[in-house]
């Protein structure tokens, strides 16, 4: 219960940050990438401030033995720059560049009642589910033949 409440309150902070920063506004995101055209540098400031706060905060938090309402830190351990990471990231950038929506921007945009955000989130979830099915299928086949 504690975990759910804290995650909900922290989600509010995240959504507020996304909404105020302009990351929930696809036109602003597209203009950030349009260096040769109607460039809007705002999102560089979003990235710099978010990164600075996170980098400093993590240094203190990760020194603790465990989180406050959870038994351990869940940190990704992989270090390999493999093909799924590189190709997947390249593919994500193309999708992001077409519409200006990314997952973290689109979810709070749902709260603005914008139909385009619902379209993006709907097909994005379908994309994640399809990719997951493909990967699980490949893994199952690999274990069978091994």
């Amino acid at each position: 219960m504690q975990r759910t409440i804290s995650a909900g309150l922290i989600g509010l902070v995240f959504g507020t940050g996304i909404a105020l920063s302009g990351m929930a506004n696809p036109a602003k995101v597209l203009n950030f990438f349009d260096i040769a055209g109607t460039w809007d540098p705002s999102l560089a400031l979003v990235m710099v401030s978010a990164l600075t706060v996170a980098a400093i905060g993590y240094r203190f938090v990760l020194r603790r033995d465990k989180p406050i309402v959870e038994t351990r830190f869940h940190l990704p351990t992989g270090r390999k720059l493999d093909m799924p990471l590189l190709a997947g990231s390249a593919i994500f950038g193309v999708g992001w560049g077409i519409s200006g929506f990314c997952p973290g921007g689109a979810i709070p945009a749902l709260g603005l009642g914008e139909p385009t955000a619902w379209i993006f989130v709907g097909t994005m979830l379908a994309g994640i589910a399809a990719a997951r099915t493909i990967r699980m299928g490949l893994q199952a086949r690999a274990t069978q033949t091994a």
Binding site: A54, T71, T116
Partner: protein, 142 residues
């Protein structure tokens, strides 16, 4: 055209960073939208309640801002709906195989100096920039 909003963007970015620190401090989790959402899709992860709560909080936040203040949240989606649908599909496949998006890799992973997140962020920023250039300046826009 969108207006340059340095103060709001710095304030918003600070809150995004703060939420990443808080989710690690309290729940021991990376505040990455891709990872959080994936656990809510079938087969649903057993720890779904905190994930659903985080998503709910993120959706409710702009509603509260609109209801409680005179602060307008500008939103403009200039791309035709069919292309938004296609972009969602492409982005969904990409973030799943890439194990993260702007929040997970670009903020949390970069802050941990993860080499995977650094590579992912450089790549998706680059392909997004190239895509916008091609759509707007080569193909002439939507």
């Amino acid at each position: 055209m969108t207006e340059f909003t340095p103060l709001m963007s710095l304030l918003g970015g600070t809150l995004i960073g703060l939420s990443a620190v808080l989710l690690m401090a309290f729940n021991g989790r990376i505040a990455g939208m891709t990872g959080i959402l994936t656990g809510l899709l079938p087969p649903v992860s057993s720890d779904w309640p905190w994930r659903a709560a985080f998503i709910a909080g993120a959706i409710v936040a702009p509603m509260l801002i609109l209801a409680a203040s005179s602060q307008a949240i500008s939103f403009e989606s200039p791309v035709p709906a069919p292309w938004i649908a296609i972009s969602g599909l492409i982005a969904g496949v990409g973030v799943y195989f890439g194990s993260g998006c702007t929040s997970g890799h670009g903020v949390c992973g970069m802050a941990r100096l993860s080499p995977r997140s650094l590579a992912a962020t450089v790549i998706f920023m680059a392909t997004a920039t190239i895509t916008v250039f091609v759509v707007r300046h080569v193909l002439g826009g939507f």
